[in-house]
Symmetry: C2
Subunit: 221 residues, 2 copies
């Protein structure tokens, strides 16, 4: 039986899944790294994901050590990882990650990157292989399903990629870790969603001390 296609992201209370892009702020990576607005970018990104860093799963997965917290947040992070047989992500998310992930990238599965630029697969130590897909979202998802086998396919982000898949009716489930922060500006998770065609069914809502875990089934209408 084929697995589900799901999204799992952290979102600010005002609907942002990432801070304002640094790409619009400065042209090159070097300029961005010297821009004082990078501090705000990092602070917002850290606030959004603050629930993840203390977790035992996170520390294990990035080989930071054997410590870290257990509990529901940890279980949910681990379940999300374990259900994922392959991921799909947009080019900008990959570009950012290519500069910032550790050598042993944290996916440990095939990852299909939507891009216009052909490139050979990029194999990392620890089981992550990035495949570059130039023929569209359906092709990337088909390849990811094939690679995932019985497990699920995660649409990893960014938000434009998520919305493309939601609008195409290809997403079964959206999970959101709703963080108690306001961004005011940034990249909105649901920007451009075709609300008239999407119906959500709340299937889980579970508080933790740091965030609220929300899961919705996504239906077409």
């Amino acid at each position: 039986m084929a697995g589900k296609v799901f999204v799992s992201v952290s979102m600010s209370l005002d609907g942002f899944s990432a801070p304002e892009s640094m790409e619009g702020i400065a042209a090159t990576a070097e300029q961005r790294e010297q821009d004082p607005r990078l501090d705000r970018w990092v602070a917002q990104w850290m606030a959004l994901h603050a629930w993840v860093f203390p977790l035992r799963f996170f520390q294990e997965n990035l080989k930071l050590g054997e410590g870290g917290e257990e509990g529901r947040d940890n279980d949910i992070a681990r379940e999300t990882f374990e259900r994922t047989g392959a991921s799909v992500m947009g080019r900008r998310m990959f570009d950012l990650g290519e500069r910032t992930w550790p050598q042993e990238a944290p996916f440990h599965t095939p990852v299909f990157v939507l891009t216009h630029d052909k490139r050979d697969p990029w194999e990392r130590p620890g089981g992550t292989t990035f495949h570059f897909v130039t023929d569209g979202i359906h092709s990337a998802l088909d390849q990811a399903r094939e690679a995932a086998g019985d497990r699920d396919v995660r649409i990893a982000g960014g938000s434009e990629t998520v919305v493309q898949y939601v609008n195409a009716g290809l997403v079964d489930e959206v999970s959101i870790a709703l963080a108690p922060v306001l961004f005011g500006a940034g990249s909105r998770l649901f920007e451009g969603v075709d609300a008239s065609r999407v119906e959500l069914e709340q299937i889980r809502s579970e508080p933790s001390p740091r965030v609220t875990h929300l899961t919705y089934a996504v239906h077409r209408r």
Copy 2:
């Protein structure tokens, strides 16, 4: 002891607390009522508040009958009403309500309306009196606190009014009934919020079958 100043609204998962304003769509109330886009407005508004209509409290408060559901949603709606000694609202929310509330308006307390137009207090049967405040948000809140006594003051909306009070550091608590709907467009609850000065502390997160009830303490930083 003075009460708290709080906000309690329903919000779509993508951050909207009201559908797109009909004011931008047609100039007069009559034109708006004949505009086919009104159907979408009503459908979205109903979806956002769908959790409220079946409640016993709602049916009692609007004198629709003795029936309706009990349970946590009902308790939360009733507690929100009972803690409220006075409300503050913006002019557009009042204008819409003036055309649509029943004669016995659902507040049953003093309501202070922020406006530029002087007008005598408007007393409704059932204990709601609308007072029109022309000298700003601090004055309206002072009058509401005075009227509320020991009870709390609710900043009722719309979103521009909520954000004015949040940005001025005058709101202690925000409660959100997060509805499993996407709007795609409309009036964003936190549009224009000064995120750099507002810190949220998640103090409650409670699922119900229809929505997730979220409460945050609002701190300055």
